[in-house]
Every structure is written in structure tokens, then in C-alpha cells.
Amino acid sequence: MKKVKARLSVTGSVLVILIVTICLTCSGNYGAKGPSESEMQQRADIIRINSMQKFGKLERPAVPFLHQKHTEAVAKKNKDCTACHLTQKDRLVFKYMRLEDSTQQAVMDVYHANCVACHQQTAAANEKSGPVVCGECHQERTGLVSVWQPMGMDKSLHYRHSKAQNEKCERCHHQYDEVTKKLFYAKGQEGTCRYCHQDVTEENRISLQQASHLECINCHSQTLAKFDDAGPITCGGCHDPAQQKLIERLKVVPRMQRNQPDTVFVRASKSGIKDPKQATRMKMVPFNHQSHEEYSDTCRVCHHANLNACVQCHTLQGTKEGKYVTLEASMHRLNVNMSCSGCHEINQRAPECAGCHVSIAKTRQQDPSACQTCHMADVVQVAESLQQTDEKELAAMYLAAREPMTDMYAASDIPENVEIKALKNQYEPVKLPHRKIIKTLSNNIKNSKLVAYFHADKNTLCQACHHHSPAAQKPPNCASCHGRPFDERDPSKPGLMAAYHRQCMDCHDAMGLEKPVATNCVACHPKKS
């Protein structure tokens, strides 16, 4: 009897173990839930090998290839890039084991023969190796998340490169000669790579991706062979957001020299500014090119297609090269960062500006007097003055004549606290620290030249809250305009309660102030005692 019992319990426990194992394996294999985003491996070096795409539709999913993993594996075997990349004229060709994509079969064979062979050899040597079966490489879902970020050359990086190259611009910059079909260097004609090298390879120019990898990595690896220090040669070195942050940035970047003006009049016609008849009727805009260089990371921000003057493409009437964007639009269009107004408006989204500007409608139409902040130089006068003076100096004179507005009411003129008793039935009065608010706001913006020139009056700052009434030291009460809500005759005007709440909350929100929380009534309205 005892024996039977023992046997039963053994069988029972074995069964339980079996069931548990089966359940576990099943859930492992058939669990429909994929890995969550946080569980997925984040990498900056994922390359989808889709070289076959140019020969027609892919028969199997493109292979996700981890470049960094292979670079490290090859390095362990004391091999370098040439283990996978052929060289041509001492330069690596960034195709796998071939110089060009000849035929579909040939390209396919290159991958299948070489990848699999290497994996097999490595496995044979009892080392950790890669897949040799079709489906292990050709995978749709990989559990990988790409954190790849585009890399750009900002002014700081450019300066470090030109310094390292002893200002030999021709090491990177070149142009294409249509006749000789060769690259040549033209001094003073340099532009950014992207002006020619676009997203995809065109007839006589390779894509930006190819061009940058070819140039950058070759140069970096050659430098690394001679010296200890060079730029990154791994994927992550340039494209991993974490490693991008490690790239040294100069605080003060010496000015880039490319024959650009320091101060200049914005051209309204291609023919020049000396002839008043050729120019626009608008007053001319003297432009401080030098200071605007400081506000931008790259020249490309404004000079988005080439380094010529804007009017070369954006004429008063618009041209085909300029996609028929007129000069006026190119200077004033909103929601783009290459126009004057657009960039200025984007600057207003900074927390120190957004508090007030969030409730001001974003329209091109401004007070006509605001035009003259930029349009200040009379066409005829400029033409006459240019007989004697240099354009640069004249523009600088006009710019120097502007007076930045730094004036502010004396602290004693600003009420220190304002008591708001509108909800006195429910709460104690709200004590608004009026002077403190103004002080904070004006401190936040005191170093901004944009503010100094565009906040034209000492009342301008006040008018963010005390709006829609003439600027004055003692503006009207809020309740003068905002009363009972939802007036049929003026349905868009908020009532007093909403006017207060939205003025405070919208501003706090836009400035990123987390306290007081909007839903915490008693933080502003003390409880009635």
C-alpha cells in the first residue's frame, strides 16, 4: 500500500513538472506579445541591407545588420575594415566586399558566400558566431530600436576640422567640372555638402550618406593610423545621441571666413543697390550679417540652398529657382526658420518669451509701425550716400543709429502687490505679486537683442497682460472690459474669472512653471478663514 502511494506521488510530481515546463515553453514560443519598447535593444548602428532592392522586389525581408557588432568582432581577429570593404585608390569603398553593384546574382552571391563563410569559420573555431540559416538573417522583426540621429557639421565642428587641416579647405570642399567631369577646388566658392549631395544619388553626384561616409570615415581612419586622436569611425561615434553629446563644442567659435559681409543692405534686386530705380519702394533693411552668424549653428539655417544673396533666387516677383517664393515671403514667412520673421517667431517660443507670446496670435500682420524696426533706410538716401560711403559702413551706421530699448518703469512706479477680490464670496483675496512678476519677466529677457529692438516701448512688456488698451502707466482694470461671461454681443471675450485664470495659467504653462499647479485652487486663493 505504501509502495503504491509513493509511486503515485512520484508520478504526480513528475506530471506537475511536465505541465509547468510545457506551459513555460509554450508561452515562450507562442506568446503573442512582442517585446515592449523599453525591452528592445537600442542601437545606432542598424543597417538594413537592401542592396537588392535596385534589382526589383525583395524576395525576403531586408537583413538588419549591426555594423558595430561586426566591427568589434573583426577587430578581435586583428583585422580592420578591409576584412569586409575593398579599397580603391587607397580609399575604402563602403559596399560589402565589392566595388560596385553589377548584377542581382553577383550581389546576392557576395553576401551569401562571404557572410555565411565567415560565420561558419568562426563557429568552427568554437567562437561566438552569426547565423548561417536564411531566416535568421532575413528577419522582419528584430527586437531592435534604432536611436540613430543624423549628424551635422555645426560651426564649432567646422572650426575644429579646418584647424586640424591647417585651413586647407580643399581637403573636403570641391566642385564638379561639367566639361572635364572631374572634381576641382575653387577658393571662395565653398558651400555646405548638402547643397550638392542630396538624399539620393543623382547622375554625377553621390548621395550625402555615401559622400559623408566616404570622406569622413576614410579621413578619420587614415588620421587614426598616423596619430592617436581622430574623429569617430564607428556608427555610434557620429550617430548615437549619447555619443553626439560627447563631441567637443567650442564656446567661442572664431568667425568662419567666406567673403561674407559684416553689415549689408538686404538686396531687393539682382542689379545692385546703387541705382535707386532698381530697388524696391520699401525702405531698405540694413542687416547685421555678423551678429546673425552668431545666432545660428550653421550657415544652412538661412542659406538653405546656396551661399548667394537671397535675391538671387527670391526676387520681388519670384523665380523658378526660388520656387516662386517672393522676396517678401522669403523674409516674412512664418513657421520656417530660414525667414527673418519665421526665425524671430521661433525665438518667441523660448520659455522666457512664450509666457507672454503664447496668447498673442501668430500672424504676419503687425502694427505697420513695426515694419520700420527693420525697414529703416530710405532708398534714395542710401543711393546718394553710397556715392561717398562704403555700403558696409553705411549699413553699420544705420544699425548703430538704432536705440535698443532698455528703459523700464522705476520700481516705485510699479504696484508691489495687487489684490484680486473677484471671488471673495468663496475665498480670501488673491495676492498677486505684481512687481515680482514684472521683475522676473524683464530679467529673463534683459540680455536679448531681439527684445531690445522689437519691444519698442517701455510699456511693451506690460502690454502682455494689460492688452488691447493704450499703453499707459496706469492701465484700465481688467474688470473694465471683462465682466459677465458669454456676452452675446461679444461672444469671444472671456468673462472676468476666465480672463484672470487663463492669463495666469497660460503664462505659467508656457514658461514651464510647475507650481502652483493649475488645479490647486488654494495655492492662489487662500481658504476663507
Binding site: 513657421n335 496670435a361 501668430k362 500672424t363 461671461p485 458669454f486 452675446e488 461672444p491 469671444s492 472671456p494 468673462g495 474669472m497 476666465a498 485664470h501 487663463r502 495659467m505 504653462d509 493649475a518 488645479t519 485652487c521
Partner: protein, 368 residues
């Protein structure tokens, strides 16, 4: 009764034509009800909502609804996705994971009856418990409600709820747009309570203008669509949003057809079917009945005529026969008289007694 197949099909055809003809007048018209003029509405702007639940509190107070389990200033309630119920006409839900990075999270959505211009609940209700007032509210009359809850099924916004825990007089419960208050010129409870005017109250036509003005003034703050302007044929409650509406749980698949129109074709047949078919069928029945009656009468008449004729003929026969018999009798009498006279001397009395008896019997046999 006897109806031929041909006749039956003919009547059926007539009936169908009658039904459809009665219907086309509405279904093919381009009439669109765009709301009562000057009807009121509310515009909810989710870029202004701060999720304070004051609207819920305001609603609860003015409608004298039972106090909630957790107080209105407990904002942790927003951690769960809620819906309206028999004790709550309106709720606010929070949406954290919205796609648009420009938008400051979270966003909130207020849920309550949208007060359709042509309400689905009203069209589904067969006792007319729901009605759209001229001020814009869709209101409910519990006194006629039979508790079928068709309204709850009909509403595309899942708004009407039912007092399941009330055993005797359960009602359908939903936001009334504070109809009694707006009739008095007061604001709806939620609107009055909102500290930021995330809820704007006004004439629906004005609200549409206000909403459009906001979109054009801050084009990158709003989705360029006013929800409720055309959804389900238009609603008195309108919405503005910083993100596509489906990201804050609002249905974008509703279309612009008012709910009643979806069923109008079929339902407009009902009065005709109810009105005409009984008359028609009764008529058919009456007609066939009448025919039968006429036929019956005719048969009776014919039979009567035939009987009459037979009678007359019989009478005539009888007469001639009687006459013949009488003649024969006369002849026999004559013969007998002759014989008697001839046998003058012989005994004559025996024969003359028997003959008259036979002649009397014969007519009675014929008449039966």
C-alpha cells in the same frame, strides 16, 4: 372566397406602389435640419481644460444628484477612464499618451450629452419621451417612458444611462443641458463652474464662429476641425481639440448623417403600412365577401325562378292531365251511359260508383 393569382398580384402591386409613393416625398428631398434658429450650445476647448473637475461638481450641484463616492477635488479619480452613469451626467477623462509632441500633456475630455440637432434617442423612442427644445436641449419625459432603453442603444455617444438600482420607477438619466436653467436665462451648471472658459456657452451659430476664429488665430494649436459641427447631422455641443479627436477617445467614424435619417426610409413606411394595409386588406376582404353575397343572391333567385317555372309547368301539366282525365272520365261516363242505355234493361248501378273515385286521387299525387 375565390381570388385568382392574377388578381392577388395586382392588388399587391397596387399596395406596394401606394407605400413607396407615399415615402418618396421625404426620402428624396434635400431638406436638412440645421437646428432651431438661435438655439444654444456649448463649445468645449480641450486646450483650455485643466482637468479640475469643477464642471462635474457644478453639474452635480445644480441637478441635485447624489454625492459621489470620492469628492470632486480628488483628482486621482482621473487615473481611470470613466463614463457617465445614472448619478453622473458629466465626467472628465484624462488622456496622457497623445501623439503630438507640440501639445503639453495631458489633455482632458469632458463627456456629457452632445444634444444632437436631430437626436438618435428621440428617433428611437416610440413614446416620444425625448424631445429637442427650441433652446437646443434634448430633454426626457419620465412620465411617458416605458423603460425599453432603445434610446441607450440608439445613442452613438453612449450617453443615456438607466437607473438599474431603482426597482419601481427607473428613469433614463442623461445631461439635460440644464434645460430648466437655460430657459430661465441662467448658464448650465458645468459652464458656470468652469474657471477657464474651456466651456463657452452661447448661440450655436456664434460658437461656430468663435471656434473658427480660434483656429485661424492659433492654427498650430488646434486640429482644423470643429467636432459636432456636422457629426451625426450636427450637435449642440461643439469641440475644439489640439490633437485628432480619436486620440482623446472621440469617435471619428460617425459620419454626418443625422441618426433619424438613417431609419427614416424604413420608419416612414410604418404609418403607411399601419394605415393603408388594414384598409386595403379589409377592402379586398369586403369586396370578395360582397361578390360572394351577390353570387349567393343570384343563385337563390335563379333557384326560385326555376322552382316557379317548374311549379307553373307542373300546374299546367296537371291541368291538362286533369282535363284529359276529365275527358276520359266524361268519355267513360258517356260510354257507360251509352252502355247503360244500351243495356237498359240490364243492372247499371255497379260501374257508375267506381269510376269517380279514381279521378279524384290523381291530382294529389302530382302536387307532391
Amino acid at each position: 372566397m375565390s381570388i385568382t393569382r392574377r388578381k392577388f398580384l395586382g392588388w399587391l402591386g397596387a399596395a406596394t406602389a401606394g407605400t413607396t409613393l407615399g415615402n418618396t416625398a421625404n426620402a428624396a428631398s434635400n431638406k436638412h435640419f440645421s437646428g432651431y434658429p438661435n438655439s444654444m450650445g456649448v463649445l468645449f476647448d480641450n486646450t483650455r481644460c485643466i482637468g479640475c473637475r469643477k464642471c462635474e461638481e457644478g453639474c452635480n450641484t445644480v441637478n441635485e444628484l447624489p454625492a459621489p463616492e470620492r469628492p470632486f477635488d480628488d483628482l486621482s479619480v482621473l487615473n481611470t477612464r470613466r463614463r457617465t452613469d445614472a448619478k453622473t451626467y458629466t465626467i472628465v477623462n484624462r488622456y496622457d499618451a497623445v501623439s503630438n509632441v507640440k501639445v503639453k500633456e495631458p489633455l482632458y475630455r469632458k463627456v456629457q450629452c452632445n444634444h444632437c440637432l436631430e437626436p438618435a434617442c428621440a428617433s428611437a423612442c416610440f413614446v416620444r419621451a425625448f424631445s429637442k427644445t427650441k433652446k437646443g436641449a434634448v430633454i426626457y419625459d419620465a412620465s411617458v417612458c416605458v423603460g425599453c432603453r432603445y434610446c441607450m442603444i440608439a445613442c452613438p455617444f453612449e450617453i443615456p444611462t438607466y437607473e438599474y438600482d431603482s426597482a419601481f420607477e427607473p428613469r433614463v438619466m442623461k445631461c439635460t443641458m440644464c434645460s430648466p436653467r437655460i430657459e430661465k436665462g441662467l448658464l448650465p451648471g458645468c459652464v458656470e463652474a468652469c474657471p477657464t472658459e474651456a466651456l463657452t456657452y452661447g448661440k450655436r451659430t456664434d460658437l461656430l464662429q468663435v471656434a473658427r476664429a480660434r483656429i485661424s488665430k492659433f492654427p498650430d494649436r488646434y486640429v482644423n476641425h470643429i467636432y459636432g459641427e456636422n457629426e451625426m447631422g450636427g450637435t449642440s455641443w461643439l469641440y475644439l481639440s489640439a490633437v485628432p479627436y480619436k486620440e482623446v477617445g472621440m469617435r471619428e467614424d460617425l459620419g454626418v448623417t443625422p441618426a433619424p435619417k438613417l431609419t427614416a426610409g424604413a420608419l416612414s413606411g410604418v404609418p403607411i403600412v399601419v394605415g393603408i394595409w388594414p384598409v386595403l386588406l379589409t377592402g379586398i376582404y369586403a369586396m370578395s365577401k360582397r361578390k360572394e353575397k351577390i353570387a349567393n343572391t343570384e343563385t337563390k333567385l335563379a333557384v326560385a325562378a326555376a322552382v316557379e317555372q317548374a311549379n307553373t309547368e307542373a300546374k299546367a301539366n296537371l291541368k291538362s292531365e286533369i282535363e284529359a282525365v276529365n275527358k276520359m272520365k266524361q268519355k267513360e261516363i258517356d260510354n257507360a251511359v251509352k252502355k247503360a242505355l244500351e243495356e237498359a234493361a240490364k243492372p247499371k248501378e255497379e260501374d257508375s260508383d267506381a269510376q269517380p273515385e279514381k279521378a279524384e286521387k290523381k291530382p294529389s299525387e302530382e302536387g307532391s
